[in-house]
């Protein structure tokens, strides 16, 4: 490219030699550095540096307002014997696994339903995405109210249907609290899964289904042998994102239960906030959030192989 660009420069009436400054101005690498500078500055200063700093902090006993000493693995040893920490790992895994699996199932089902021909299709799709638009904390507050121990509309309805005799203590009982936060997470995540999978579904040519139906395929076979294989790559990516964001969820829990009752809904993110910011133990909090990294790496690996597979399926060697 550079030599094409230089040609008119030489043909100018002035017949000036291309100075080294002119050459530099058209050097791709030189220009590239300047174009990348703003983005890189942000990402290095506020992402890469803190990421490293977080791991360093987890090896120190830093507290708010006090510079810490290097104490090697003491934070981790301390956490190893901490029942609440293990409970938060268990909660996080349970939360991530259940919420992601159900989000996937309902999301795929909803995508298949929305892919059918019906009146007001565009409007329905737009409405389905609303839970994803509204800030999580604000919808979590609505759920907090819906799951209120005294004035819950669900308890009221069930009581009037004669199914229960007294109000369910939704957010006060350990099992119910877990069910409620998982439900709220699914509620928020389903639109994302459904709409992205729907975009994938729309690229599947209807003629494939027509051909299969002529050959006598049932609806289930249509799904199993056409839709599912063609959708696998996009499912891999969507689910990686879904797992990643569910695993590191903070705001939903913080707005609804703050980790309670009896730490039953404490995720690793909420526990690290509580230890680091509220209790002031920055080092210990950093150790908890650093403990999330191995899990995240595993999720990223899945995403990576999902992407690889997709390229291979589409026969694209370069992008």
């Amino acid at each position: 490219m550079a030599d094409i660009a230089l040609a008119p420069e030489k043909a100018k009436p002035k017949l000036r030699e291309a100075t080294s400054w002119d050459q530099l101005k058209h050097n791709k690498n030189w220009l590239g550095i300047w174009f990348m500078l703003p983005a890189m500055a942000f990402l290095v200063l506020f992402l890469a540096y803190p990421l490293g700093l977080g791991i360093w902090l987890s090896f120190t006993d830093t507290k708010i307002g006090r510079v810490g000493q290097f104490i090697a693995f003491e934070n981790y040893e301390w956490l190893w014997d901490d029942g609440i920490f293990w409970l938060s790992i268990f909660n996080t895994l349970l939360y991530t696994f259940l919420a992601s699996a159900i989000k996937f199932a309902i999301g795929l089902y909803l995508a298949l339903l929305l892919n059918e021909n019906m009146p007001f299709k565009a409007m329905l799709r737009a409405m389905v995405l609303v839970p994803f638009i509204v800030p999580t904390v604000l919808s979590a507050l609505a759920f907090w109210w819906i799951f209120d121990s005294q004035f819950s509309i669900i308890s009221w309805s069930l009581r009037h249907l004669g199914l229960i005799s007294q109000n369910i203590n939704f957010l006060g009982d350990t099992t119910w609290a877990r069910v409620c936060v998982i439900f709220a997470n699914i509620w928020r995540g389903v639109p994302f899964v459904a709409i992205t999978l729907l975009a994938g579904l729309q690229t599947v040519s209807p003629s494939l289904y027509e051909a299969a139906t002529l050959d006598g395929a049932t609806r289930w076979q249509n799904f199993r042998y056409i839709t599912y294989p063609l959708l696998t790559p996009i499912i891999a990516v969507v689910m990686t994102f879904s797992v990643l964001f569910t695993f590191t969820d903070f705001q939903l829990i913080w707005a609804m239960t703050r980790g309670g009752p009896v730490n039953a809904t404490h995720l690793m993110a909420t526990l690290s906030y509580q230890r680091a910011i509220i209790a002031g133990q920055l080092g210990e909090g950093a150790a908890i959030s650093s403990a999330m990294i191995p899990f995240l790496l595993a999720a990223i690996m899945v995403s990576w192989f999902g992407l690889q597979r997709r390229k291979w399926q589409q026969g694209e060697s370069n992008d």
Binding site: A39, F42, P135, L282
Partner: protein, 307 residues
């Protein structure tokens, strides 16, 4: 390299042409009406009802008079015949709510604009300048997208404190781009790839600099992509919680999500009305924005996943 844009454009047009426009009936005639009701309309309406019910409940609660809020037996809880705007009035004139709304808007707009500028430059450089190591940098930016705020907020809090940004909107304006830049760079890379390379070659031959090409050729052609990136980033900023919760302290500096959770939650049994009014008022700007730009929003969301 030159035949690449052509094949890309082809693919895009194929994808963009809805395959069902010409045969909108499809195979749906194979299904009888009762069957469609059972397999399609009933499950769909149940799901849509569950997805939208919390908003109905939020809106209803925010206009119910106090005594109806906690008395479910005298009045039907699902409707109210004497709506009141008391809660909204309290919100707007007896609290910092307008201030919080302004803070959120200010932070979101500034952070989004900064990120879009940085991402346009980065995406253009990665896709079109193709400097040495461009692919590697592209991959790293994708990885940055996968680093969640909840493992960064503790070290970032110390960084913010060191730079003297604690408790100022600047802390958020400078940290939000770390969430937004990876996403919007990735999205814009996809858009820039679809712009024919030949256009740029013509401009280069006519003596345009890279900067002029970017401003006068690439950006005008990528406007849909820019709108998508803008809307999505704005929504992400508005939604962000953990950084705002950690970096801001004084009541008047807070953003809407943090302020509602921290300032409105007290022991008052009647708090629900103003809490829900606050939640509703905090969501409405985004919902209105979304209503105007549904297509852009969806293409941003799906584009980021597809790329």
């Amino acid at each position: 390299m030159t035949d690449l844009p052509a094949s890309k454009v082809d693919l895009k047009t194929i994808l963009a042409t809805p395959a069902r426009v010409d045969n909108s009936e499809g195979m749906s005639y194979l299904q009888s009406v009762p069957r469609r009701i059972v397999t399609l309309y009933i499950p769909l309406s149940i799901i849509v009802f569950i997805l939208l019910f919390p908003f109905y409940w939020m809106a209803l609660t925010s206009i119910k008079p106090d005594e109806q809020l906690i008395d479910l037996d005298t009045y039907s809880p699902f409707w109210t015949w004497n709506p009141t705007f008391k809660h909204f009035y309290k919100l707007l004139f007896e609290s910092h709510y307008p201030h919080w709304l302004w803070n959120t808007m200010y932070v979101a707009v500034c952070a989004t604009v900064l990120s879009i500028i940085a991402s346009v430059l980065a995406a253009y450089a990665i896709v079109r300048l193709r400097y040495k190591g461009a692919n590697l940098v592209g991959g790293l930016i994708f990885l940055a997208y996968l680093v969640p705020p909840s493992i960064l907020f503790i070290p970032l809090a110390t960084v913010v404190f060191q730079y003297g940004l604690f408790d100022s909107p600047m802390a958020l304006i400078l940290t939000y781009p770390t969430i937004l830049i990876p996403f919007s760079t990735w999205l814009l890379m996809g858009y820039f790839k679809t712009i024919p390379f030949e256009l740029e070659e013509c401009a280069l031959i006519d003596g345009a600099s890279r900067w002029q090409i970017l401003l006068k050729i690439v950006l005008p052609l990528a406007i849909p992509g820019l709108i998508s990136a803008f809307i999505f980033c704005f929504t992400l900023c508005w939604n962000e919680f953990i950084y705002a919760l950690t970096f801001l302290q004084s009541v008047s500096n807070k953003t809407v999500p943090v302020a509602i959770v921290n300032e409105f939650v007290d022991g008052d049994v009647y708090r629900w009305g103003s809490l829900m009014a606050g939640a509703l008022a905090g969501s409405l700007p985004l919902v209105i924005l979304y209503a105007f730009f549904v297509e852009h929003y969806v293409s941003a969301m799906t584009g980021a996943v597809k790329e």
